[in-house]
Amino acid sequence: MSVGRAPIAGSDEQLIEGRYILGIAAGQNWLATSGIVAAGTNHATSFQLPSGYALMEVDTAASGTGVSLPPAVAGTSIMIYNNGASTLTIYPSIANNRALATPAQDTINNATSVTLAQHVSAILFCAKTGIWANK
């Protein structure tokens, strides 16, 4: 976040700083996190990425390790950069998606995982709950 002051977290209605929200429209105020460490060797043991960040940087990725996306909820878009030493495996959320009428596993490009080469970034978006698309 680089412009203005963010609103107080929570659902209360409140006055919003104009500079801050214009910063969102300018692509300057996405919530970001870095220093993520990939883990495990499969879907169940991978590192579960948190919800609530639009930009995420994985800085440690040993061979065979991976991360799991947050639940695929319609209207969500995230960008991930692999700054680790190895190819990163990206899985859907470890737990079944409870936003679906019948909780089930999410998919990514209609598959159970995708890979992200070292020093490469990816954009993932969800227009229908349960389904991640990866560009």
Binding site: M1, S2, V3, G4, R5, Q14, L15, I16, E17, G18, R19, I21, L22, I24, A25, A26, G27, Q28, N29, W30, L31, A32, T33, S34, A54, L55, M56, E57, D59, G75, M79, Y81, N83, A117, H119, V120, S121, A122, I123, K135
Partner: protein
């Protein structure tokens, strides 16, 4: 911006028009600019893009010319469009050092990138000082 009335710029807290805010959520109200002109032949002489725009269309690109990205501040993305149909567009990090790291920014670990004619690239920053972009 295409939907509603944007808030006043500045630090005042204010009521925000619902139509405008929903337009942001719908991808209709990103800040953009076009007719930008590339310049120079290296980082120092490139045209410095100012922060505050999410989409920047560079329409004037002479051979070898380029633009410099805004400072790489975490939580930022910016899409650069090479709207020129003839020449490759060079993209450099910000000309001056990053105000938070005190050092030169990088682009995917490099000192520059390039965008083909009539193509665009989205640069993202999750860590101060480092721009990245999808390379598929």
């Amino acid at each position: 911006m295409t939907v509603g009335t944007p808030p006043q710029d500045g630090s005042d807290h204010q009521l925000i028009e619902g139509k405008w805010a929903r337009g942001v959520a719908a991808g209709q109200n990103w800040s953009s600019i076009y007719s930008w002109a590339a310049s120079g032949s290296n980082q120092a002489t490139a045209s410095q893009i100012q922060p505050g725009y999410r989409f920047v269309e560079v329409d004037t690109v002479s051979p070898g010319s380029g633009v410099a990205l805004p400072a790489a501040l975490e939580g930022t993305d910016v899409t650069i469009i090479n709207g020129n149909g003839t020449n490759l567009l060079a993209v450099f990090p910000s000309i001056i050092n990053n105000p938070r790291t005190g050092a030169q920014d990088t682009i995917a670990g490099m000192a520059s990138a390039s965008i083909a004619t009539n193509r665009y690239v989205t640069f993202i920053c999750a860590k101060n000082g480092v721009w990245q972009y999808p390379q598929l």
